[in-house]
């Protein structure tokens, strides 16, 4: 299974880069090279446009992480989560997921090392990491690219979605494992 997934993820991109222009050229007589260049022009400007949005949010997240404020957040939430039986060990990596993907993965690795990836906590952390996203990063990049500053209800709705992913992962893990 793992080999299959790895093979598939290695094949998809080259096949897309071959397949799309080949279809366009052979079936639709598109000038594929000119078409590609025309579309690719915008890439650089978008990268530059995103910078202020990314700096703003990543600096705030970086400060938050470095200060150790996460420990307090865990301490506040622990009574609630332990009441429903959610393991406290899985809390930091789950909360971190919306803020920083790499930090969340590092915390998950620690859990795998301490409890084993095949323990209940290990599986729970795996499902949570797989079914939530780095919300703050996504928001900065997508809204930054179009210079939208007022994001209205996107952040609360996204955080509710992240939370629902954690809750769903917990319920499903209780049922499956």
């Amino acid at each position: 299974m793992k080999e299959l997934i790895n093979a598939a993820s290695n094949w998809i991109v080259p096949l897309l880069i071959l397949g799309i222009p080949l279809y366009a050229f052979a079936a639709r007589r598109i000038r594929v090279y000119e078409s590609f260049i025309e579309g690719a022009k915008e890439g650089f400007q978008i990268g530059i446009r995103i910078i202020p949005y990314l700096v703003a949010i990543l600096v705030a997240i970086g400060m938050f992480r470095a200060s150790g404020a996460m420990d307090w957040l865990v301490w506040i939430l622990q009574p609630v989560t332990s009441w429903v039986g959610f393991p406290a060990e899985a809390l930091p990596s789950s909360l971190m997921r919306s803020l920083s993907g790499s930090a969340a993965f590092a915390l998950s690795s620690d859990i795998f090392k301490t409890y084993g990836p095949d323990s209940f906590i290990g599986r729970l952390v795996s499902v949570i990491q797989g079914s939530t996203e780095t919300t703050f990063y996504i928001m900065a990049v997508y809204f930054g690219a179009v210079a939208v500053r007022k994001t209205r209800y996107t952040l609360p709705a996204s955080l509710i979605t992240d939370l629902s992913g954690i809750v769903a992962a917990y319920i499903i893990c209780r049922l499956l494992f």
Binding site: K2, I5, S9, V13, I17, P21, A24, I30, S35, F36, E38, G39, A40, G43, I46, I50, L54, V55, A56, I57, L58, V59, A60, M63, F64, A66, S67, G68, W72, S108, S109, F112, G116, P117, G122, R123, V127, Q129, G130, S131, T132, E133, M139, V141, Y142, F143, A147, V148, T151, R152, Y153, T154, A157, T161, D162, G165, A168, A169, I172, C173
Partner: protein, 198 residues
């Protein structure tokens, strides 16, 4: 966003006072700013590549084909976007790439989708309902097979690294439903309150 941003920074500084982590917090500001720029610049290569590919797919009609297949779903999710609008094609490509786990390809398609949605947007500084829905959906991690998690598990010596796939798919679907429901609800509330931008 304003509140959360200040909350993150405020919590950091107050915690640093009590824990004596001020030097670390201070260092983090500059290193995070540097990382942000590196990330943005790092995106440029992949972005250029896939925006180019996206244009070829658009010119050949492949994108429109994909968008047409997803039309019933899109009509419900993004009622304000006219059918056959290029935004639908870009969003279809973005969802497709995300589901396949091609994060590097998904981001450029998503950004293209945001630009197309912005062309429909009356107030260029404020997100439209379609944008909010589109970005919120990403929080459910559309990816069906969590490649990164599986390789982390394998590295940690799991006997069956991919056993979490089924659970992940169900959790993702559940949070996807929540994403749609909350976005629709928020949109309705704000419309009733006459679009008070938070």
């Amino acid at each position: 966003m304003n509140v959360v941003w200040l909350l993150l920074i405020g919590a950091a500084v107050i915690t640093a006072v009590f824990k004596g982590t001020m030097p670390a917090v201070s260092n983090a500001t500059f290193s995070a700013a540097g990382t942000a720029v590196e990330l943005a610049i790092g995106l440029v290569g992949g972005m250029t590549l896939f925006l180019g590919l996206m244009r070829v797919a658009q010119d050949s009609g492949l994108v429109q084909l994909l968008a047409r297949a997803l039309r019933p779903v899109f009509r419900y999710l993004f009622p304000d976007v006219p059918k056959d609008h290029p935004a639908l094609g870009a969003m279809a490509m973005n969802f497709g790439a995300n589901i396949l786990g091609l994060g590097d390809a998904a981001t450029p398609f998503g950004i293209k989708a945001m630009e197309d949605l912005q062309s429909l947007n009356g107030d260029k500084e404020t997100a439209s309902d379609a944008m909010c829905m589109f970005v919120t959906l990403h929080s459910s991690s559309l990816q069906l097979i969590p490649v990164m998690v599986i390789s982390l598990r394998a590295a940690a010596g799991s006997k069956n690294p991919s056993e979490i796939i089924v659970g992940t798919i169900f959790a993702t679907l559940a949070s996807m439903v929540v994403a749609v429901a909350t976005s629709k609800l928020f949109a309705r509330w704000q419309r009733r309150a006459r679009g008070g931008a938070a």
